[in-house]
């Protein structure tokens, strides 16, 4: 029982980290996102198939398709055909 509990707890601790929003580009070409976070506006280029972590605490993203979406900071986003799919 003890072993079990310890194993469980260590698993919990190991997985206790919640990360920022991850963006994965599923397209065949580089996607350029405009990320507005806080006061700054920056462009983030994500290579085909690459994954990036953006905005840990809420931001707005303009996708290559021209759509704008707000992100809370804990989402998983996929770029498919230039537009974002939030999981």
């Amino acid at each position: 029982m003890k072993t079990f509990v310890i194993a469980l707890l260590s698993g919990v601790l190991a997985a206790a980290a919640v990360s920022a929003a991850t963006v994965t580009n599923k397209d065949g070409e580089t996607a350029v996102l405009v990320v507005v976070e806080g006061e700054s506006r920056m462009e983030v280029a994500i290579d085909a198939g690459a994954t990036e972590m953006i905005c840990p605490s809420g931001c707005f993203v303009t996708t290559p398709s021209g759509d704008r979406i707000g992100l809370q900071g804990d989402e998983n986003v996929e770029i498919v055909n230039g537009s974002a799919i939030v999981k």
Binding site: T3, G11, V12, A17, V34
Partner: protein, 970 residues
């Protein structure tokens, strides 16, 4: 920024209500925001449903479109007017998105002024020139109606979002105005920053609420496909109309999100602006340089005279007014204040008298006792004085006795009194100048008295400085007056500190307390002189604010630090081994709960940790407030510390983890409770077999703990998909190291389900034989007949053959061998034996006992009486009874009577060589092993060697040896 206890107290007293309501507003605002977001989600769901209905209804029209090549790539001109002005200043974007076959619409289209989506018709048109097909497809009326419905619902959603954003914009504007007004009020700025941040969060969540609808639109657009190109058959009218509408809506949502984006940027700018303003405010207040000159003093002198006049006039006028028109309220307020003071004084004396009073009879109080008395005798009177001050202010205020110009003066006078009382009481408790036994620091009697006077003088000067400063502020006197007062106070405090360098308080290790004392160590006296000198120099060179700040910190922060130190020492002393048992609480616990030494020690450790926690929780915020941080700052820090700790891009939520652990513990407790309930109520009443009960209980335990773990993990906000990584790593580890453990665990589960044996069974596996005591996760506990516990890994019990004497039932056969001489009649012997067996109450009638004539010996015949008993564990006792009965019966019947009495118990292999004419019981030949006999042993009270109930010890040993020989497996 330098708001000290005085200032905060004063503001607390009369602006608290405003602050609370403001905070209440923001809280309720957040709450309504949440409701709105929820409602929005709901609206989004409704939209989704209506769109689904629509697409189902219009399926016929869509099918034709599906045949077109599904080009889900970006429609270049789909984004109509993008509202925010800043969309213009993105020059890089044009170049950055070359692959999209054209820049997004916000670059193509200059920003619309009003920010609302003006579906620019040109942009809406598909790129292909022949996009407008012949519109002759029949349009079903209900389709159109539904599409209208969907549009209306969507419009409602968007207009709601727009409304929320407009509200947020207004709120931001209002906050900006407030910030502009409160640009020199640090407390208000701190509060406003919290509100601005909340608005920023709300803006983001508002825009997130539009995401589902955008996804729906995109999905539907993909379904509709691109407009037909040139030469392709024209599409239905309704499809074109729907696409147009969807594109327009998409543009509208994008415009709204753009608006949210710009609002969010504004909010962040505002929030950062507040931080910058507060920083500037702090450095301005602290590092403001004033020109110290003779004119200044002249000016101050005349201002003082003026102020004294104003003060006396306003005080007198207030008193006259109150006395003439508000006599009853004033007297009531004073009476209630005195009552409150009495209650606090008497109450704290009664409740805490052993903790705050020096026990005169105690000749040599222990260090811990001295510490705790010092700590509590400072804390409790200070708290009760503070409570008295607050309550009397409250009474005066609520009876409308105070006038707006008098209120701040009274408030600051009360606050200064409380703080001065705290510092003096603390110094008195630590130094205990009139009773050396209770002194915490080793200083001489004289030194203690002088130190106390010094500290009191510094506190008095500093307090008066703040009090007069408050009076000047309340009466609107010139700033120069406050500056001069602070200048004088700083210089006086500096001089006192320098003077204190010449006190001679220290003692040598063996000197008595009434010795004259020695000077400070050189480093201390130099430090004191330097500090005092720097205060004076700072004040003289114009940095009066800084000087005053340092003087206050030396007194107040110093006092708080001393208090903390005493608190920590108390915690340390309590958690020392055996110390807690000496305390009152320890003695009470010992009496009340009959706690042992170890238990008391553990409680003491917990108490020590608790004191540490209390000290930190109470005094750290106090010091931070001292240093000019605001309550709002501390609140937001604490909130952030418990909800999100950011390390790089990883966020850890302490609250989440604690909630997870809490849920796990709750789940665990519930599991235990359910286990006990099912076991004790349901199963015990239905007479379920003990083994089954054990299996079910253990199974419930595993399931419950597993579920509790899952719930805990979810409550901790941990994405279980993250655990997959851990599981992957674990499975690799299982492959190598944990293989045995896991195999045993799984075997244990199989044992519980399949139940080849259960708790209480008598089993034999390999060389181990005994009763099963417990089936646990890894191993099964078997207790041998000698009461030796053997932990047998579960996998062994699954893989090897296990013999179980009590598997289906406890029925067992037992044999007794009897030999007689050839002089006897075998039939008579068999009848006799059957009769004797049949007469025993514990021998089963069915299957009935049988007697076999098993062998012709050289001198004797061998018979075997085979009996069945209901419980194999009683076999030994029954055999014993039968042997006695056989012996007595044969003796009475005269069987073998002429022969000399020679009783010898021999193993069955050796019996042929031994002459005996008496009936002889022989060790169990085959079935009943010695183990069976030993099994009977636990049933007897005697803890002696097992076989003794049948044979003498020596014979038993022999028999064991023989049965070992007869059973090669053993």
């Amino acid at each position: 920024m330098i708001s000290h206890a005085f200032a905060s107290f004063r503001r607390l007293s009369y602006s608290n209500r405003i602050v609370t309501t403001a905070r209440g507003d923001s809280a309720s605002g957040a709450w309504f925001g949440l409701l709105r977001v929820l409602k929005l989600h709901f609206v989004g769901k409704l939209l989704a449903v209506s769109v689904c209905l629509l697409s189902l209804a219009g399926a016929g029209a869509v099918v034709a479109q599906d045949a077109q090549p599904a080009q889900t790539t970006t429609q270049p001109a789909q984004t109509p007017a993008q509202a925010p002005a800043q969309s213009n200043n993105q020059p890089a974007q044009n170049g950055a998105q070359p692959a999209q076959g054209g820049a997004p619409a916000q670059n193509v289209q200059p920003a619309a002024d009003d920010g609302k989506a003006q579906p620019a018709p040109n942009a809406q048109q598909p790129a292909g020139g022949a996009a407008q097909p012949a519109q002759n497809a029949p349009t079903p009326v209900q389709d159109a109606a539904q599409s209208n419905d969907a549009t209306i619902a969507a419009d409602a959603g968007q207009s709601q979002t727009a409304e929320q954003l407009a509200n947020a914009g207004k709120e931001l504007k209002r906050l900006r105005d407030l910030i502009a007004k409160a640009s020199d009020d640090d407390i208000a700025l701190a509060e406003l920053k919290v509100q601005v941040d909340a608005v920023g969060k709300q803006i983001i969540s508002t825009s997130i609420a539009t995401r589902p609808r955008l996804d729906e639109i995109k999905a539907r657009l993909t379904e509709l496909g691109d407009p037909p190109g040139e030469g392709q058959p024209p599409e239905a009218d309704i499809v074109t109309a729907e696409r147009k509408r969807l594109l327009a809506e998409r543009g509208e949502i994008n415009a709204l999100t753009g608006e949210a984006e710009s609002l969010s940027v504004q909010a962040t700018k505002l929030s950062n602006g507040i931080t910058a303003t507060r920083r500037a405010l702090f450095s301005n207040t602290l590092l403001k340089n004033t020109d110290v000159s003779i004119e200044m003093f002249d000016e101050a002198l005349s201002a003082t005279a003026n102020e004294t006049k104003v003060l006396s006039r306003s005080t007198m006028s207030w008193l006259t007014f109150v006395w003439n028109y508000k006599r009853i309220p004033l007297l009531t307020a004073i009476f209630l204040s005195i009552c409150a003071a009495m209650v606090f004084l008497v109450g704290s004396n009664k409740l805490f008298s052993p903790y705050i009073h020096h026990d005169k009879s105690d000749e040599e109080p222990s260090y811990f006792r001295r510490l705790s008395v010092a700590f509590w005798s400072t804390l409790i009177p200070t708290i009760s004085t503070g409570a008295f001050a607050v309550s009397s202010f409250f009474f005066l205020h609520s009876f409308n006795v105070l006038r707006s110009d008098i209120t701040p003066i009274i408030a600051i006078a009360l606050a200064v009194t409380v703080v001065g009382f705290f510092v003096t009481t603390l110094a008195n408790a630590v130094l205990s100048p009139w009773d050396s036994r209770w002194r915490l620091v080793r200083v001489s009697d004289r030194g203690a008295k002088v130190l106390l006077i010094t500290i009191f003088a510094m506190a008095l000067v500093n307090g008066l400085d703040y009090m007069f400063g408050g009076v000047s502020e309340a009466l609107g006197s010139p700033v120069v007056l406050t500056v001069v007062k602070s200048f004088i106070a700083s210089v006086v405090i500096g001089l006192i500190i320098i003077a204190s360098a010449w006190i001679k308080p220290t003692l040598k290790r063996d000197e008595p307390f009434d010795a004259p004392g020695r000077p400070w160590p050189r480093i201390v006296s130099i430090g004191l002189m330097l500090t005092g000198a720097s205060l004076i120099i700072a004040a003289a060179s114009g940095y009066v604010g800084l000087s005053r700040f340092i003087a206050t910190q030396i007194i107040i922060t110093g006092a708080i630090l001393v208090m903390m130190y005493i608190g920590f020492l108390t915690g340390k002393a309590v958690s020392r081994q055996g110390a807690f048992a000496e305390t009152l609480a320890g003695r009470y616990l010992e009496r009340r709960f009959k706690l042992e030494q170890v238990g008391l020690d553990q409680v003491g450790l917990m108490a020590g940790l608790g004191i540490y926690a209390l000290v930190i929780l109470f005094f750290i915020p106090l010091i931070l407030l001292q240093w000019g941080f605001q309550v709002a700052d501390i609140e937001s820090w604490t909130y952030r510390a418990v909800t999100e700790i950011k390390i790089g891009t990883i966020t850890i939520s302490l609250m989440g983890i604690m909630a997870g652990v809490l849920f796990f513990v709750l789940g665990y407790i519930v599991t235990r409770w359910v286990q006990r309930w099912i076991d004790g109520n349901v199963m015990a009443r239905s007479r379920v077999d003990a083994g089954v009960r054990n299996s079910i209980r253990t199974g419930i335990g595993y399931i419950g703990v597993g579920l509790a773990g899952l719930i805990g993990v979810s409550a901790a906000g941990i994405d279980l998909s993250n655990l997959a990584l851990v599981a992957g790593a674990l499975s690799l580890g299982v492959g190598f190291g944990l293989q045995n453990i896991v195999s045993n665990f799984v075997s244990g589960l199989i044992l519980l389900v399949e139940r080849p044996f259960k708790v209480g069974d008598w089993i034999v596996s390999g060389t181990t034989e005994g009763f099963v005591k417990r089936i646990s996760v890894r191993a099964t506990e078997i207790e041998t007949f000698q009461h030796q516990s053997i932990m047998m890994p579960n996998s062994l019990l699954i893989n090897a053959s296990v013999g179980n004497w009590t598997h289906r039932n406890k029925l067992g056969r037992s044999e007794i061998a009897v030999t007689v001489t050839y002089a006897s009649d075998p039939r008579r012997i068999m009848d006799l034996l059957a009769e004797i067996a049949g007469a025993h109450p514990m021998v089963l009638k069915n299957p009935s006992p049988t007697v076999g004539f098993t062998a012709f010996g050289e001198e004797r015949m061998t018979f075997e009486l085979r009996i069945y008993v209901a419980d194999v564990l009683t076999g030994g006792g029954v055999r014993n009874d039968l042997r006695v009965a056989i012996y007595e019966r044969f003796r009475d019947e005269g069987i073998g009577a002429p022969f000399p009495l020679k009783i010898e118990d021999v193993p069955i292999e050796d019996q042929t060589g031994i002459e005996s004419h008496e009936p002889e019981t022989v060790g169990e030949p085959k079935g009943a092993t010695s183990a069976e006999a030993r099994a009977a042993a636990p049933k007897k009270e005697a803890a002696s060697a097992a076989p003794l109930d049948e044979e003498s010890e020596e014979e038993g040993g022999k028999r064991r040896a023989s049965s070992r020989r007869s059973n090669p497996n053993r």
